[in-house]
Amino acid sequence: MNIPEKKRLANRLRQIALHLVYKAQSGHLGGSLSAAEILIELYFEQMRYDPKRPASFENDILVLDKGHATPGFYAAQYLAGLLPEGLLKTYRRADLNSRPGEMDALQGHPKYWPERGIWFSTGSLGVGLAQAVGLAMAEKMAGRGTRIYVILSDGGMQEGIMWEAARNAVYHKLDNLTAILDLNWIQNDDFVFKTTELRPVGAKWKSFGWEVIGEEIPFAERAGAPLNGHDFAWLSQAFAQAKAVRGQPALLIANTVKGKGIPEIENDPDWHAKAPTREQYERWMTALQAEEATIAAGEL
């Protein structure tokens, strides 16, 4: 797929994510928008899957360790043909037509639902990478050539289980596992560097035995720098590089902007989990639609 078409899809993903959060009046917009290009690159270039058979064991699997980023994740799945449009309307809403414990609806954080291509249950940071390691082991045992992708966040990387999983992925030589760090430097309460010390990121993973592709750009040094996490050309070649690695897992460090695509909320820690007002929603949607028209006209 060519880059303008991917850009158009990333824009569409942002519109859908904004719509989902506005309609539910809750949800995590900032971290969905930072992952938009990563999600589109995965679903429209990297992953092999049959949208008509979401539960097929032949499909590649994406695990969303940053399970709060469902507005972006569900939007990508919808665009990829894995989720029907009607289901998007159920986002964060109780399904009052089924029995307790059963639901035909999209939870705020993803729950295992293979019929919709969701092979994991996340929302508690860090368990997604551990589950992805389990999935990657299962694929190796079954001798299937499927690949497991997992999107991590800088907040989730503060969980101890993440490092347990990182070490295990190396010991078990899981070269069918590719992790992508959506590095936007903002977590629930504040900036990462006002919460804890995470740096150096790449060196940590490298020392654990991962093939690390891409370099972290500290938040203070990012002004004006081109960010690889929103650059389809970089993402494509980085994923290709990851696929070629043998005997070890790979991590892509994708530098991103939280809230990317809606200038008013970009890099604003207030917008980790906040719903827009009607006025904001309409204004931002209009701007995104105008951008889509520009992309379609070949100007972006």
Partner: protein, 336 residues
């Protein structure tokens, strides 16, 4: 069900130390190997595999990712990472491989939340072994003596909690657990336990076992405390009391019928467990009896405090779970 033991003979053999005693974890390890040849499952360990007795399974079915088995190995080393083990099990289960998680009961507690996220919420089938349960773990001290694990597991929806009392029962329970859907938590004692059951016994999930008949008082025990309760009953019978003993190998779901039946002719029920008296066997019995027509007094004996290092015998004496401790508490309740 009834499985009436010859109490006098049991006490005699126990006191002469001629009774057969075996590690229940060996029973688990053996059953696991036998089942491994018949069923498709994977076993995960976190560096306590010598103690949980899964090394035989590793020898026979190979270690995943390592020479010479490589990707055909069905035993997975997680390193000392219980949280990871419990979450990775979810990934394996998602692709149809039933996970068997093995470690000490205490360290499983560290994996509890990842287990909820990765196994319980998705509704997977999983077998979870918590070995070294209770203060009977002994000399390692309170850091290794789980007294909350049954309460934690009993709180999960769609769960089965089993605490077998001897070798034979552990083997049968392990086999039965593989036929059960949902999460099965098996809590084992670290110790060699005296033989209670022979091959004629037939373990059934959810079935309590009347081991000693009696009237007026019913003792209810599980796991390692069952043989201590037997010894206590022998003492009490000599004193003119006539307690019945019900062993509940399945703590959840408890056998409501056998408990209701016992409550019909017992003024008093005493539960005995090597676990906190809150959330474990005692509360399982109370919950079951709360639905019975006749209200009965239920006294719960358990471990109220974090204990210490010592031999299992010393600790059971100090914390009131040995035969004399149980008998004393029963006498005290009767006087009250």
């Amino acid at each position: 069900m009834k499985y009436l033991l010859d109490l006098a003979r049991f006490v005699d053999e126990f006191e002469k130390k001629s009774i057969e005693r075996r590690y229940v974890r060996d029973a688990f390890g053996e059953a696991l190997c036998e089942l491994g040849a018949q069923k498709d499952f994977v076993v995960l360990g976190a560096d306590l595999d010598k103690s949980t007795k899964t090394l035989r399974f590793r020898e026979r079915f190979g270690e995943f990712g390592q020479e010479p088995w490589n990707e055909k190995g069905r035993w997975i080393s997680c390193g000392v990472s219980e949280a990871f083990m419990c979450a990775a099990a979810g990934g394996l289960a998602a692709r149809g491989l039933k996970p068997v998680i093995t470690t000490f009961a205490r360290f499983l507690e560290r994996g509890y939340e990842p287990l909820i996220q990765s196994l319980a919420i998705p509704g997977f089938d999983a077998f979870i072994l918590g070995s070294h349960g209770g203060i009977a773990t002994g000399q390692d001290g309170s850091s290794a003596q789980a007294i909350e694990d049954i309460a934690l597991f009993r709180a999960l929806p769609n769960v089965t909690v089993i605490c077998p009392a001897d070798f034979e029962e552990t083997q049968q329970a392990t086999r039965a657990a593989f036929e059960r859907s949902g999460i099965v938590y098996m809590r084992l004692s670290r110790n060699q336990l005296p033989k209670l059951f022979d091959e004629g016994y037939s373990f059934r999930i959810g079935a309590g076992v009347e081991l000693v008949c009696g009237q007026g008082i019913t003792l209810v025990s599980t796991g390692e405390t069952t043989y201590q309760a037997l010894l206590a009953i022998a003492k009490l019978k000599r004193e003119g009391l006539n307690p019945r003993l019900i062993h509940l190998p399945t703590v959840h779901p408890p056998d409501r019928e056998i408990l209701a039946e016992a409550a019909r002719d017992s003024e008093l029920l005493v539960t005995i467990e090597d676990h906190s008296p809150r959330g474990g066997l005692g509360d399982a019995v109370l919950e079951a009896l709360s639905q019975a027509k006749t209200p009965r007094r239920v006294v719960k004996i358990g471990v109220e405090r974090y204990a210490e290092s010592g031999t299992p015998a010393e600790l059971y004496r100090k914390y009131g779970l040995d035969a004399e401790g149980i008998a004393q508490q029963v006498r005290r309740v009767i006087v009250e």
